[in-house]
C-alpha cells in the first residue's frame, strides 16, 4: 500500500484521539468513583442502580417509622406499667381496708388515697407522646377521659371505635398498629352492669373484639324492619338483615331469625354469631364488626360494646374505683371485699395488654434489625453495581497513560523525518 504523509498524520490523529478518549473515560471513573456517569455507559447497571437507590430510600424510611413506632410503644408500655402500679397500690389499700378492725376514720383516709389513685389513672389515660394523646385512637388531639372518669374525646357525640388503629409501614406490606384504644384498658360501664365481668376482659379473650348487644328490655321491637351487619373481614362485607315478623314478643324467635340470616350469608357465616344472654341479643365476631340499624328502630341507642365508646360513656376501671370510694366512705365492708376481685380482673386485663405491647415492641425491634441488615445488603449491592473498583481503574489508567504517551512519542518520530531532511 502506498503510504502518504497526510494519511500517516490522519491516522495518528485518530488514534491519539481514541487513546485520549479512553484515558478521559477512565479518569472520569476515577474522579467520580463510579463505573458509569451516563445511562448509556451501562443501561442495565443504571436501571438497577435506580431500583436499589429507591429501595435504600424506602428502607431508611421504614427504619425511621420503626423507630417512631418503638418510642410510641414504649411510652404506651410505660403508661400501662404505671396503671399496673396504681392497681397494685389500690389492691394493698383495699386489703388493708377490708380488714374488719379498721375504724371508719382509717377507711376514710384510705378512701382519700384511693381517690388520688383514681385521679392518677385518669391522668395516665391522658398520657401524651409528642403532643399526641396515646389512648384516644385517631383523635390524638383529644384527651381520653374527663376528670369524672367519663370518655372525653373532645365532646359532642364523638366515638372511639376499635378500628382506630394507627398503623404505619415498617416494611413492604408490613404494618404495625402502634396505638391501643383507651377502652381496652378503661372499659365501658353502664349503671346496672356487673363490675366483675369486664368488657375489657372479654376483649382479651377474643383478641380484637367484642360483642354488640341488642337490648330488648322486655319490650317488643315494633318499628325495626332491617339492620346492617358490617364485618371488616377479610373479606369485608356489609349484610342487611331483614326482620319480617315484627313485632317480636319472644326474643328467641328474633334470635333464630337473625341467626338464619347470618348463616345464609357466605361471608358472615362462621365469623359472626348471635345468641341470647340476660334477655339481650348478643352479637359476637372473630374480627372487627359493627351493627348499624335504621334510625327508627332504636337499636343504635341500646347498642353497647367496647368496640365503640361515645363521649360521656363511663370508664369501667374508674367506675370500679368510684364504687370502692363510695363503699369506703359508706363503710360497706362487703362492697370493699368485692372490690378485690374486680381489681384482680383489671390486673389480668392490664397485664395482658402489657404483654401485647411487649410482643409488638419485640416485633418492631426484630423488624428494625432486619431493616438494618437489608439496608447493608442493599448498599453493598449498590456499591458493587455502581462503584468503580479503584485498583482496577488505576491500573487501567496507568496502562492507558502509557499507551497514550507511547503513541505521542511514536507520533513525534513519524512526523519528523522525510527525504527533505537528508537532501543537501
Amino acid at each position: 500500500m502506498r503510504v502518504t504523509n497526510s494519511m500517516i498524520i490522519n491516522n495518528l490523529m485518530r488514534n491519539l484521539n481514541k487513546n485520549l478518549n479512553r484515558l478521559e473515560k477512565t479518569q472520569r471513573n476515577l474522579s467520580s468513583g463510579k463505573k458509569f456517569v451516563n445511562p448509556s455507559d451501562d443501561p442495565i447497571g443504571v436501571s438497577r442502580s435506580l431500583r436499589l437507590n429507591t429501595e435504600v430510600a424506602a428502607m431508611d424510611q421504614y427504619k425511621r417509622n420503626a423507630d417512631d413506632a418503638l418510642s410510641w410503644l414504649s411510652t404506651t408500655e410505660m403508661a400501662a406499667k404505671n396503671i399496673n402500679e396504681v392497681l397494685k397500690r389500690a389492691k394493698e389499700l383495699t386489703v388493708q381496708a377490708a380488714s374488719e378492725t379498721n375504724s371508719i376514720n382509717e377507711r376514710l383516709s384510705i378512701a382519700e388515697e384511693i381517690k388520688e389513685l383514681r385521679n392518677q389513672l385518669i391522668h395516665i389515660g391522658n398520657t401524651t407522646y409528642a403532643g399526641s394523646y396515646l389512648f384516644s385512637g385517631f383523635k390524638t388531639d383529644k384527651p381520653l377521659l374527663t376528670t369524672d372518669g367519663r370518655y372525653d374525646l373532645g365532646g359532642g357525640t364523638n366515638k372511639l371505635t376499635f378500628d382506630e388503629l394507627i398503623e404505619i409501614n415498617i416494611g413492604v406490606g408490613d404494618r404495625i398498629g402502634e396505638n391501643f384504644v383507651g377502652q381496652r384498658i378503661f372499659g365501658l360501664y353502664s349503671p346496672g352492669d356487673d363490675l366483675n365481668i369486664t368488657t375489657a376482659e372479654s376483649l382479651k379473650q377474643q383478641q380484637i373484639i367484642t360483642g354488640s348487644y341488642l337490648d330488648l328490655d322486655n319490650n317488643p321491637i315494633t318499628a325495626a324492619t332491617s339492620f346492617d351487619i358490617t364485618y371488616a373481614g377479610p373479606p369485608a362485607v356489609t349484610e342487611t338483615i331483614n326482620l319480617v315478623n315484627v313485632p317480636y314478643n319472644d326474643i328467641a324467635v328474633l334470635q333464630s331469625e337473625i341467626n338464619n340470616a347470618i348463616l345464609a350469608s357466605a361471608d358472615l357465616n362462621g365469623h359472626v354469631s348471635v345468641s341470647v344472654a340476660n334477655n339481650k341479643i348478643v352479637f359476637e365476631a372473630d374480627g372487627e364488626f359493627s351493627i348499624q340499624s335504621g334510625a327508627d328502630i332504636g337499636i343504635n341507642e341500646n347498642e353497647k360494646s367496647v368496640s365503640k365508646v361515645t363521649t360521656g360513656d363511663k370508664s369501667q376501671l374508674i367506675a370500679i374505683f368510684d364504687q370502692l370510694i363510695a363503699d369506703l366512705e359508706a363503710d360497706d365492708t362487703e362492697g370493699i371485699g368485692s372490690a378485690l376481685t374486680r381489681i384482680d380482673n383489671q390486673f389480668y386485663n392490664v397485664n395482658a395488654i402489657i404483654a401485647e405491647i411487649g410482643v409488638k415492641m419485640n416485633r418492631v425491634e426484630l423488624t428494625s434489625n432486619r431493616i438494618l441488615d437489608d439496608t447493608l445488603n442493599l448498599k453493598d449491592l449498590l456499591s458493587k453495581n455502581e462503584d468503580a473498583d479503584i485498583a482496577e481503574v488505576v491500573m487501567n489508567l496507568k496502562m492507558q497513560e502509557y499507551v497514550y504517551q507511547a503513541s505521542l512519542s511514536g507520533g513525534a518520530k513519524i512526523i519528523q523525518p522525510s527525504l527533505v531532511d537528508f537532501l543537501r
Binding site: V3, T4, S47, S132
Partner: protein, 488 residues
Amino acid sequence: MRTTFGSFNIATSGLFASQRSLDTTSHNISNANTEGYSRQITKQRASMPTYGDPTGVVGTGVETYDIIRIRSSYLDAKYWGQNKTYREWSVKQAQLESLEGVFNEPSDTGIRIVMDEFFTALEELSKQPGDSTCRVNVIEKANMLTTTINRNGYELINSIRDVNFSIKNKVSQINSLSEQIANLNKHIFSFELGGNKANDLRDQRNLLLDELSSIVNITVTELPGPNGNNYMDVKLGGITLINHINYNKLATVDEPGEFTELGSGKISRIVWEGSDNQEVSVGGGELRGLLDIRDGDGENYSYRGIPYYLNKLNEYAKGFTKAFNEQHNKGIDLEGNQGQDFFYEPDTPEINCINFRVNSDIITNPNTIAASSEGNGESNNDNVKLLIELRDYKGMFTTLIGTPDDFVKSILSALAVDSNQAKRMATNSQALADHTYSSRLSESGVSLDEEMTNMVKFQQAYNASARMITTLDAILDTTVNRLGLVGR
C-alpha cells in the same frame, strides 16, 4: 541526412519536459496539506519520430501531453455512502447524550429522587397526619416532583425547537453547497472543452460533495455529454438536486399554527422549492439524524426521538395525577370534607408534563390533604397508607404495566439503550468511513518522499539535458570555428 541544429530541439524538449515535471512536483509539494487535493502527474512520451532517414526512424525527443490527477471515483462514492451513516449516528449520539443530561440520572436531582422524597413525605405524614409541618412537607415535595417533571418537559420542548432550527440551517447549507457545486460544474465544463481535465477544480468539487454527503444521502453520476464532455448529476432520494449547472433548491415549510407549549407548531418540513410542497425523502446524513430526533415518537417502528420521551413524560403526569387524585378523592381531609383533587386536573387540554402541578387549593390550605378514611380523628391515616400503596400500583399507565418507578426506569432504559446504540453505531460507521478516507489518502495523497525523489530525478534529467546542449555547443564550436583551418 540529419540537420545541423536538429539535435538542439531534442535536448530542449528534454529540458522542457523536466521543467514541466518539476512544476508538477512543486505543485504537489505546495499542496501536500491542502484538504481534498489529489496528487498530479505530468504525462510524457517520446515525440513523433521523423521518417525517411535511411538509418531508420529517428527519435525527436520528448513531449508532455497531459497532467492527470490520481483519484479513485470508486473510493469517493464509497466514502460518501459511509460518511452519511457516520454523520447520521454521530448527530443522534450527540442529541441523545444531551437528553441524558436533561434526565440527569443517576444523580441526586433526577425524577427518582424527587419521587422517593415525595413518598417519604407521605410516610412521615402517615405517622402524624394531624401535624401541619408534615402536611406542608408533603405539598413541598409534591411541588418538587411536579416542577422536576415540568422542567424536564420544557427542556425536551426546547430541544425540539433547537433541532428544528438546526434542520433549517442544514437545508440552507445544502442550498449553498448546491449552488457552489453547480458553479464549479460550469467552470469545469468550460475548462474541459479543450479535452483536458480541470484537476484542481475537480478536487474542490469533490470536497464540496464530501461536505454535502455528510448532510444528506446523495448519489453522484457523470453523464456523457456532447464532445465527450461529462455532465455531472447529483440525486437526493431519487430526485435531481444538481444537474450540471442547474440545481434544485430545498425549502422548509413551517407547520401552521403558533407554538404550543407541548412543542408542536412551526415545525418545519423539508420540501422541493416550487414543487407544490413535495416532501424531500432524506435517507441519511446529519439531516436524517436530526429529523429522527425531532420527529421520532417510537410508534410504528419509527425512531425514538424527543417526542417519544415527551409523550412518556405526559403519560407519566397523566397516569400519576389520575391515580393519585382518584385515591385522594376517596379520603376525608382534616376539616371533615371529602378530598379534592390533589394534583390539578384540567378539563382540556389533558394533563401533560407542562401543566402537571399541585392543586392550588391544596397549597393554600394544607388541611385539605385527605389523610383519613373517615373524619374520625386527626390521626386516621388510612387514606395516606392507600396513597403510599400507589407506589406499587401497576395499573396507572396505558403503555406499560408497572409501578411509577418502573415507568421512570423504562424511560431511562429506553434512552440509555438508544444512546448506547447510537454511540456504537457512530463508532462503527466512523471506523468504516475512516478506513475509506485513509484508502483515499493512500491513493491520492501527496507523499513527500516520493515528490523529493521525483524532484531529484527530474533535476538530474534537466541537468543531463543541459549538459547535452553544452556538448552540442562544443560540437558546433568545433564545426564552425575550428574546421577549415588547414593551410592557414
